[in-house]
């Protein structure tokens, strides 16, 4: 996860992206899992108690596809990344590693794409798939499945890989998440 911070810092210094304040962890909620059924109080402990706690704001949302999102908000990108890591870790360590789907970061793209268009303030997401332990960019162009900006994603993917992020090598695994609740 620290590679996220490095890659982000590098791209930001190049003027290609600006981080947003939000990120999320998506997982398949399991009512039989003790930790997941007490998620709110558990996360309050994990994120707020103890020295070095990031005190990141969080919200719990269920989407219409039966998935649960922990939406995190923090002005400090480093804290945001570390909170995402902590939340994913906490769910995984408490019997939920098979439930974890992805961690998602929101960032704004201000670079130039192959077709030489300058896309200022384009909303992008960096998706981390827990099952494949790799990242890939996601740039939705609409709420319907399949609506995405593939050239920008490919371009961003190359840049992210260049700056040390473990980018998913197989493009066929770059599955989207339409209707991200943040």
């Amino acid at each position: 996860m620290s590679t996220v911070i490095k890659a982000e810092a590098k791209l930001q210094s190049l003027g290609e992206i600006t981080p947003a304040r939000r990120a999320g962890v998506i997982y398949r909620n399991d009512e039989n899992n003790q930790f997941q059924s007490d998620i709110k109080s558990e996360l309050n402990t994990v994120l707020y108690v103890g020295e070095g706690a990031t005190k990141t704001n969080f919200e719990i949302t269920d989407d219409d596809r039966g998935m649960r999102w922990i939406v995190l908000e923090d002005g400090e990108f480093n804290d945001l990344v570390s909170s995402v890591y902590t939340v994913g870790n906490a769910i995984g360590m408490n019997g939920g590693s098979d439930n974890l789907l992805a961690a998602v970061f929101e960032l704004y793209f201000t670079g130039t794409v192959e077709d030489n268009t300058y896309r200022s303030g384009l909303r992008t997401y960096w998706i981390y798939r827990y099952d494949r332990k790799s990242f890939y960019p996601f740039v939705p162009t609409g709420d319907n499945e399949g609506e995405r900006d593939r050239p920008t994603e490919a371009r961003l993917g190359q840049d992210l890989r260049k700056h040390g992020l473990a980018i998913e090598k197989s493009l066929t695994e770059w599955m989207g998440l339409w209707g991200i609740p943040f």
Binding site: L101, A102, I127, D131, G146, E173
Partner: protein, 288 residues
């Protein structure tokens, strides 16, 4: 390769012995697994057709494709397989079937559009090599263990939760626990072996395919061309990926594991391309 096969067989035997020692109802387990294996084994081509939306095409509909498959099948000295096309922009190809007589080879419209004739020929050569090498059969056997153990894992888990099936509550809770943990261990070792096995099979098909088509470089070209293209970024939502399929036993067959996909993630594509390029060099200069 042979070591992996040996290890798999060894693991099976050990596992069977262990289950018997633990007094599991083998008939019950065997019945369900048997049905599952038979379905996967004898219907894999139909299952794949159903689950991927592939449509069988006749020689009249796709003369070029049929000619190409026929040419390669002749070189392998195998009967003409069924030919199918999947209407999707995502470039891919696969073969399935328990033996050359029941083989099916499918390509997507995306791969037809993107590759030139020699590249497509190399890809089909690779797929037919899987058929010729009887890879689907090997894989079915390998998947068997993983299927049995994942099924047992689920069953034993519920068994522990609700205490014994059929109301028979002897003092055997401890035995069930031990069986459960051994099952988990066997499951993971089995999966590792399946991965190792598919890796060898993939290299093997690259090699056999290259010998038949005499053109390893074109397969390398095709792999590189396709894997890097923007159009391979899918339309699919990540949430459709079923991670929680612990309660199903059929998905292994439905997820296409009964077929040999051109882009299996093991081994990594880079390594396959590297080996193909080396093979090309050796073939060109007659080195061995």
């Amino acid at each position: 390769m042979y070591f992996t096969m040996f290890m798999l067989g060894f693991l099976y035997a050990l596992f069977a012995l262990f289950l018997m020692a633990a007094g599991m109802q083998l008939i019950f387990i065997g019945g369900i697994v048997g049905v599952m294996v038979v379905v996967q084994y004898y219907m894999s081509d139909r299952l794949i057709l159903m689950s991927t939306g592939a449509k069988e095409v006749s020689a009249a509909e796709q003369p070029e494709l049929h000619r190409m498959v026929k040419l390669l099948a002749d070189r392998y000295e195998m009967p003409m397989p069924k030919v199918a096309v999947i209407d999707t922009a995502i470039p891919n190809a696969f073969a399935t079937g328990r033996n050359p007589k029941n083989a099916l080879v499918a390509v997507t419209t995306g791969i037809q559009q993107r590759l030139n004739e020699r590249e497509l020929q190399a890809v089909i050569g690779h797929e037919l090599a899987h058929v010729a090498n009887r890879d689907m059969r090997v894989l079915a056997i390998a998947n068997f263990l993983v299927t049995v153990t994942s099924f047992l894992m689920t069953m034993l888990f519920w068994n522990m939760l609700f205490g014994g099936m059929g109301g028979r509550r002897d003092n055997n809770g401890g035995v069930v626990m031990v069986v459960y943990f051994v099952t988990i261990i066997v499951y993971f070792i089995g999966q590792l072996l399946v991965l190792a096995l598919t890796r060898y099979r993939e290299y093997g098909a690259d090699h056999t395919g290259a010998e038949i088509s005499g053109d390893p470089g074109r397969l390398a070209d095709a792999l590189e061309k396709i894997s890097g293209t923007v159009n391979t970024i899918p339309d699919k939502d990540l949430r459709k990926l079923q991670t929680a399929n612990a309660f199903l036993i059929i998905p292994a067959a439905l997820k296409g594991e009964g077929s040999m996909n051109l882009f299996s993630t093991h081994p990594p594509l880079e390594e396959r391309v590297k080996r193909l390029r080396e093979l090309e060099q050796r073939m060109r200069y007659g080195l061995r």
